[in-house]
C-alpha cells in the first residue's frame, strides 16, 4: 500500500480548509486529504467514501490490488462494510445480488477472466435493476495467456445492459466511483455501473490525488436507495423474478415491459450522468466531461476518437501535431453505455475525418468496437465522415505519443484518399 | 327477517351430525338450529333408561350448549317451524316470525304414531319419544300396579322391561305374531319373548285391541275375542310417523316421509332432509324396513351436511340397512340387514345354528355368496363390521362357515384384511 505523502502545496480543494496531517503515516492514512497512489488505491478510497454495506471480492482470475486495498480498509476499520471473501467471481456478484435485494449498497471489482466467469450473474444484474457499482480494471482476454491490460473485457459485455464509464485519470477513477452510486441509485436509472480504468496504465501509475471530505460525500450521495423496486424482505414479501408466460398469457407484454423499462433507464442515465457530473464539479471543484470530451476540436479538421487512459498520450500527440500546424483534435468517450449519441454526433460533426483507436477487437467487423460505435453514430451526422479503425494497446502494449502521432497521420490521410477497410494495428511492429 | 346461510330444524342425531359436517367444510357460514324442545337435545334411545331410573335426566344430553357455541351455531330452543315456503327460502315459525335460509335441513324426526283404537282419546295414555314423555312415564310407573304396553317394537319392549323392573305387572300386546317383528325372525323372537315371560312379563302376540275405556285410576283394554285387561298405566308404542306437519304446501314432496335423493336433497331446491323424518330408501332396493335406525340417521345427517356445504368429499348415501342392538334382561340380541324372503330362490342361502333350547341363536343370510343379514341372540359380534360387509357387498365364499362358527372373530379377521 502506498504511503501517504505530506504535501506542502495548498490543497486544491478549498472546502476542506485543512492540509493533510504530517504525522504518523498509519493514522494519517485514515483521514488523508491528499495522497499519492495508483488508480486501484484511488478506487478503493472511492469505495471507502461511498460507504457500501457490502463488498464481495475474489482475489484471483485475475484481480487487481484493488480488492486487497478494500480488504485492508475493512480490516483497519476505515471502511465499515461486510466483506465477503467469496470463492469466485460468480459468487461475488451473486452475493451482491442478494445483498442489494436486501437493501445493501454494494461494491466489487473484477476484470478479464474474472468478468467472464462472473458473466451469468453479471448478465442478470441490470435486468434485476440492481444499482451495484463495480470496477473493471480492464484487461485483455486469454488466449494467448495474458495478464495485461486491454479493454477486451469491458467491450465484450457492452450489450449486457450495465452503464459503462471509462476513466482517464487516477483522480477521475476515485471521483467516478462515488458519482457512480448517485447515477446507479437514481430512481429514474436503477442500473448497475461499471467504472472502468485501464489495467497497467492507470492501475500501476502512481500520481497525486485529492480525497474529498467524507461528510461532503455523504451529503452528495445520501442514504442507500437500492431495493425500493424489488426486495427480498419479510417486511415486504414479494416474489422476485417469477417466470413470465412465454408466448401466452401476459408473458410477452410483461417481458417487453421489462426490456423497454430497461432501455428507458439507460436513456435516463444520459441525463443523470450529466447532472451528477455537473453537481460534482459544483461541490468538489473538479469538472469532467460526463459523456464525450472534446479536446482542441472546435477548429480541427480531423480527430482521434479514444476511450480510457490512452487519451493522456493521445492529447500529447495532438498538442505536438498542433504545434506542427496540423488541424487535429481529439474526442474521448467517457460514457460508452448508454451510448451518448447526441454528444458524439455533435463532436463528430465538427470534423471531416476521424481515426478511432481501440484497445480491443471486434472480430467479425475486422475493426475495433469503439470504431463500430462511432460508425453507428456517424449515421446521424449530416455529412459523411470517413472513419478509420486503429487497434493498439492490446495485452498491456504501450500506446505512446509516437503511436498516436502515427494515428494522427493515418487519419489525416483520409482527407485525401479513401478510407481503408483494414484496421491499422498500431503495435504490429513493436518488439 | 333474519337470514342464515344454513338453517337446521331439529337437534337430534341427524341434525347434530349435519352441523358437524357443515362446519367441517364451511367455517364461516351462519348457522341456526331450531329445536322444538325446551331442553338440551336427548336421544329417544336413552329414554327407557330414564324411565327405569338407571340414568338421571340431567346426565343424558347429547350435547351441551357450549358445543353449539364452539361451532358458532345459533342454537334456539322452543322454536317450532309452522310452515315452509321453499320457493322463497323462508320459514314461518309458530310465533309468527320468519327466518330466511340459504340452505335448509329438515331433521324434525318422528312422533309417536297413535293407532286408530276406539276410545283411545278418552283415556290417559303414555307415549315415549321425548324426555317429558319419559319423566311422565317414570312418575306413573312408580305407582302403577299393572301396565299395558301396546306394541312389541323396540320402544315397547324396552319400556315394558323397565316398567317390570320398576315393579309393575306388565302386559305387552302385539298384533303381529311375534315380538320385534321386522328385526328378528320368529325363532329369535321366541327366545326373547321367553325371557320376558321368565321375568314375569306377559306377552300377547297376534292380538288386537278392540277398544279402550276409562276406569278409575286407569283404563280397561278390550282385546279381540278375549278378556278385558285392566291397566293403571297404558303405553302406546305402536311405532312412529315422520314429523312433517309443517310441510303442507311447502313444495317438499312427502310420502311415507320426506322424499330424498342419494344426497338427502328433497324435491324442493335448497332443502335437505335427514333422519327419521325421511322416507329412507332401502340399501337392498326392496321393501325391507329401513329408517328409524340411529346409525342410519347419523349417516344421513353427515351426507346432508356435506352436500349442503358443498364438501367435495360427499358420497352418495347407500340406502338404509336395518340394524339393531337390543339388550334385554342382561342379554343381547343383535340384528343387521335383512332376512331371506319366504320365496327366496337358489341364490339365497341361510345358515343357522342354535335352535330351540341351545345357548345361542345365530342366523346368517347370504345371497350370491354375499352377506345380507346376521341375526343373533346371546351371540356377540360387531354389528358395525357386518354392516360394512353388507354395504361393500363382500363375497364371503368359504368364510361363511367360519362366520357362523365365530361371527365376531371371523368378521374381524376378514375386516382386517379388507379395510384395516
Amino acid at each position: 500500500m502506498n504511503e501517504v505523502v505530506e504535501m506542502t502545496a495548498p490543497v486544491a480543494h478549498a472546502a476542506s480548509g485543512r492540509i493533510a496531517p504530517d504525522h504518523d503515516a498509519v493514522v494519517a492514512r485514515k483521514e488523508p486529504k491528499i495522497l499519492v497512489c495508483d488508480a486501484n488505491e484511488a478506487a478503493a478510497w472511492g469505495v471507502v467514501l461511498s460507504r457500501p454495506d457490502m463488498v464481495a471480492v475474489y482475489p484471483i482470475t485475475p484481480q487487481s490490488s484493488l480488492a486487497e486495498y478494500v480488504a485492508q480498509f475493512v480490516a483497519d476499520g476505515v471502511l465499515d462494510a461486510e466483506l465477503v471473501e467469496a470463492e469466485g467471481e460468480h459468487s461475488v456478484l451473486s452475493v451482491l445480488h442478494g445483498a442489494a435485494l436486501a437493501g445493501a449498497r454494494t461494491y466489487t471489482a473484477s476484470c478479464g477472466q474474472g468478468l467472464a466467469f462472473m458473466f451469468e450473474p453479471y448478465f442478470r444484474t441490470p435486468n434485476l435493476r440492481l444499482p451495484i457499482v463495480m470496477s473493471i480494471v480492464n484487461r485483455d482476454g486469454i488466449t494467448p495467456q495474458c495478464v495485461w491490460g486491454g479493454q477486451q473485457d469491458a467491450m465484450t459485455v457492452r450489450e449486457v445492459g450495465w452503464v459503462q464509464l471509462f476513466c482517464e485519470t487516477v483522480q477521475e477513477v476515485l471521483d467516478t466511483i462515488v458519482m457512480a452510486y448517485r447515477i446507479a441509485e437514481d430512481r429514474s436509472v436503477m442500473l448497475p455501473v461499471n467504472v472502468n480504468h485501464d489495467g497497467n496504465y492507470l492501475s500501476n501509475g502512481i500520481v497525486r490525488i485529492e480525497l474529498p471530505e467524507q461528510a461532503e460525500v455523504d451529503d452528495f450521495l445520501g442514504a442507500p436507495d437500492v431495493n425500493w423496486h424489488a426486495a427480498l424482505d419479510p417486511k415486504r414479501p414479494m416474489g422476485v423474478d417469477p417466470l413470465t408466460g412465454g408466448a401466452t398469457g401476459p408473458g410477452p407484454a410483461l417481458f417487453v415491459g421489462y426490456r423497454r423499462g430497461h432501455c428507458e433507464g439507460m436513456q435516463n442515465a444520459l441525463r443523470v450522468i450529466v447532472e451528477v457530473h455537473e453537481e460534482w464539479a459544483r461541490r468538489f471543484g473538479r469538472r469532467y466531461a460526463p459523456l464525450v470530451e472534446e479536446y482542441r476540436l472546435d477548429d480541427a479538421e480531423y480527430a482521434l476518437v479514444t476511450i480510457g487512459s490512452m487519451a493522456g498520450a493521445a492529447k500529447d500527440a495532438v498538442d505536438a501535431a498542433r504545434e506542427r500546424g496540423e488541424p487535429v483534435g481529439l474526442i474521448r468517450i467517457k460514457t460508452l453505455r448508454p451510448f451518448p449519441l447526441d454528444a458524439m454526433v455533435a463532436a463528430l460533426d465538427k470534423v471531416r475525418a476521424v481515426g478511432v483507436v481501440d484497445r480491443a477487437v471486434s472480430y467479425g467487423w475486422n475493426s475495433g468496437p469503439v470504431h463500430q460505435e462511432t460508425l453507428a453514430a456517424l449515421q446521424y451526422c449530416p455529412h459523411r465522415v470517413p472513419c478509420l479503425s486503429l487497434i493498439g494497446g492490446l495485452a498491456g502494449a504501450d500506446l505512446t505519443q509516437a503511436h498516436f502521432e502515427r494515428a494522427i497521420a493515418e487519419t489525416a490521410r483520409l482527407l485525401v484518399s479513401p478510407c481503408p477497410r483494414e484496421p491499422v494495428w498500431l503495435n504490429a511492429e513493436d518488439r | 327477517m333474519e337470514q342464515f346461510d344454513y338453517v337446521v330444524l331439529g337437534a337430534s342425531h341427524a341434525a347434530l351430525e349435519a352441523l358437524r359436517a357443515i362446519r367441517a367444510h364451511d367455517s364461516d357460514g351462519s348457522i341456526a338450529v331450531l329445536d322444538r324442545e325446551a331442553r338440551l337435545p336427548v336421544s329417544p334411545t336413552v329414554l327407557p333408561y330414564v324411565v327405569s331410573g338407571k340414568r338421571p335426566e340431567d346426565r343424558i344430553a347429547l350435547r351441551e350448549r357450549g358445543w353449539f357455541d364452539d361451532l358458532r351455531v345459533d342454537y334456539r330452543q322452543q322454536a317450532h317451524a309452522a310452515a315452509l315456503d321453499s320457493a322463497h327460502s323462508r320459514l314461518r315459525l309458530a310465533d309468527g316470525s320468519e327466518i330466511g335460509y340459504g340452505k335448509l335441513l329438515l331433521a324434525t324426526g318422528a312422533a309417536p304414531a297413535v293407532p286408530p283404537i276406539a276410545g283411545l282419546s278418552d283415556v290417559r295414555f303414555h307415549v315415549l319419544r321425548t324426555l317429558d314423555d319419559a319423566l311422565a312415564l317414570r312418575e306413573a310407573g312408580r305407582s302403577a300396579g299393572r301396565a299395558v304396553v301396546l306394541g312389541a317394537g323396540l320402544v315397547g319392549m324396552h319400556a315394558a322391561e323397565n316398567l317390570a323392573r320398576a315393579g309393575a305387572r306388565v302386559t305387552i300386546i302385539e298384533m303381529r305374531d311375534q315380538v320385534l317383528p321386522g328385526y328378528f325372525d320368529a325363532t329369535a323372537a321366541a327366545r326373547i319373548q321367553a325371557a320376558f315371560h321368565d321375568n314375569g312379563v306377559e306377552v300377547l302376540t297376534g292380538r288386537r285391541v278392540e277398544r279402550v275405556a276409562p276406569r278409575a285410576g286407569g283404563c280397561t283394554v278390550q282385546l279381540d275375542g278375549g278378556d278385558p285387561c285392566d291397566a293403571d298405566l297404558l303405553l302406546v308404542a305402536a311405532g312412529v310417523r315422520p314429523e312433517v306437519s309443517y310441510l303442507a304446501g311447502s313444495g317438499v314432496a312427502v310420502e311415507r316421509g320426506v322424499v330424498v335423493d342419494a344426497f338427502m336433497r328433497s324435491t324442493a331446491a335448497n332443502v335437505w332432509a335427514a333422519g327419521d323424518v325421511v322416507q329412507t330408501p332401502s340399501f337392498f332396493g326392496d321393501a325391507t324396513p329401513a329408517g328409524g335406525i340411529l346409525p342410519d340417521a347419523v349417516e344421513q345427517g353427515r351426507t346432508a351436511g356435506m352436500s349442503m356445504a358443498g364438501d367435495p368429499g360427499v358420497q352418495a348415501y347407500p340406502g338404509g340397512v336395518s340394524l339393531n342392538t337390543y339388550g334385554f334382561f342382561g342379554r343381547r340380541a343383535l340384528s343387521v340387514g335383512r332376512d331371506a324372503p319366504q320365496q327366496g330362490g337358489a341364490d339365497w342361502e341361510v345358515l343357522v345354528r342354535g335352535g330351540e333350547g341351545s345357548d345361542a341363536y345365530l342366523k346368517i343370510v347370504l345371497r350370491d355368496g354375499r352377506l345380507q343379514g346376521v341375526f343373533g341372540v346371546d351371540v356377540l359380534f360387531d354389528p358395525g363390521i357386518m354392516w360394512e360387509l353388507i354395504l361393500r357387498r363382500v363375497e364371503l365364499g368359504a368364510r361363511a362357515k367360519a362366520l357362523l362358527e365365530d361371527p365376531q372373530d371371523a368378521a374381524r379377521a376378514l375386516m382386517s384384511g379388507l379395510w384395516r
Binding site: 457490502m54 459468487s91 445483498a99 451469468e120 422476485v240 | 360387531d382 365376531q408
Partner: protein, 460 residues
Amino acid sequence: MSATPTIAFDAARCDGCGHCMNACVSAKSSDAHRAQPRIQILRDDESGRWGIAQCRQCGDPRCASVCPAAALEKGDDGIVAWDGERCVNCLICTAGCTFGGIAFSAAEGHVVKCDQCEGAPQCVAACTRGALRYVTTANLYNRWGDLEDLFVPGLGGCQGCNTELIMRHTLRRVGSNTVLATPPGCIPGMGSVGYNGMLGCKVPVFHPLLTNTASMLTGIRRQYKRKGRNVTALALAGDGGAGDVGFQSLSGAAERGEQILFICVDNEGYMNTGAQRSGSTTYGAWTATTPIGESARGKTQDAKNLPLLMMWHGCEYVATASTAFMEDFYAKLEAALDASQRGFAYLHLYSPCTSGWRFPSASNIEVARKAVETNFAVLWEYRRDQGLKLSRDIEDPAPVTEYLKLLGKFRHLDATQIAHIERHVAEQAQVLRELARMHPREGRQVVGHQSDLMAVDLDQ
C-alpha cells in the same frame, strides 16, 4: 381437532403369539375382574394372515356420533374416551364402528375399547416381532397443525410427488420471517415463486440462478444481520442446483460458515426438464441422457454422496432425511433451523420422482421408505460438536433389490449391475458405520491399555 398417535399393525410380521393381548389383559384387569383384551389378533384362515381389531381413535369417531348417551367423546389428547357414568349399554357404538374397536365385555359388563395406556401402549411393548408399532407422527400435526401454510393452495407438482409435502412442512416450521430461494427446478416449476405476477407463497421468494443459491442467500443473510435483523435464509434446491452446477457456491458458503438453512431435495437427476442425469443419479439408472440401447445400460458411474461432502465442510449441521420418516425429518428440520442461526446447515432429503423414476404415483412414500430400509438411503445427522450419528439401525437392511424392483428406471439392470449397486450400498453403509463410531470432537482418548491411567489430551 387434534391428531392421534396410532398403533400400527404389520400383518407380515405377526405370528399370532398373543403377547399383545395378554399384555392388554394384564394392563386392564383389576382385582374385581379379568379384562377382555382391547386388542384382538385373529387369523383369517382363508388368507392365512393375521388380522387385528382395535380402536383406531378415529378423527371422526362414528361410535361417538351414534352414541345416544354422549358416553363417547374424542378428547383433546385424541383418545376416544368412554364414560361409564353415561353409558346405557345399548351397544349402538358397536354398530357405529367398522373396525371392531369397541365391543361388549361380558366379564366387565360394558363396552370396552383401547385407550393407548396413556401414551405407553402395553401391547406394543409386548410385541417382540415388530408387528405392532406405536406411530406418534400425528403429534407432528398437533405441534405444527396451527402453523400457517405459507404456500398458495395449489402448487403444480406432478401427481404423487413428495416435494410439495417437503416445501409446505418446511416453510410452516421455518415461518414467515424468511427469505426463500428456490433455484430453477421442480420447486419453482411447481409455482413457488409464481407465474406472471402471481406469487407462489407468502414469504419473499426468488429464483436464484441454478448456480448461485448459496451466494445470493449469503448476501441476504449478511445484510440483515448487519442491520440487526435475524431473517432466516432458506434454500429449497434440487440436487443439480446443490451438487452439480450449484456446488461451487454451496461449498463456498458452507466453508465460510454462512448462516443459511440449505435444503436439498434430491430426486437424483434433472427431473423437471425431462429426467436427465445428474451427479446424484444412481449407477445403472435410466435417464434421458443415460438411455438404454444396444451398447448402453444406463449410468456408468456411482452417485456422489453430497451430504457426506457437505459434512466434510465442517458445517454446523448436516443431515439426511426422508418423507417416509416424518418425525425424523421434523426433528432434523428443527435442528437444522437452530444450527442455521450459528452457521451453515444442510439438510438432504430423498425425493423419489414418480414421473422420472417411473413408478406409480401412489407409491412415493413407499419407495422412500424402501430406500431407507434397504440402506440405499441411510439416515444420519452430523453436528459439528458431536460428529456423525446414525438415525436408525442399519445392521439388518432389507435386500437392495426390494428397492430397485419398485422403480422403472432400474428395470433393465442385469445381475452385474445389481451386484455393483449392492456393493456400493454396502460400502456407503460401512463408511457411515465407521464414521458413526468416531467422535473426533471429544478430544480425549485413552492411549495404551485399559489399565494405563495416562490420558492424553489430544487438543493440547
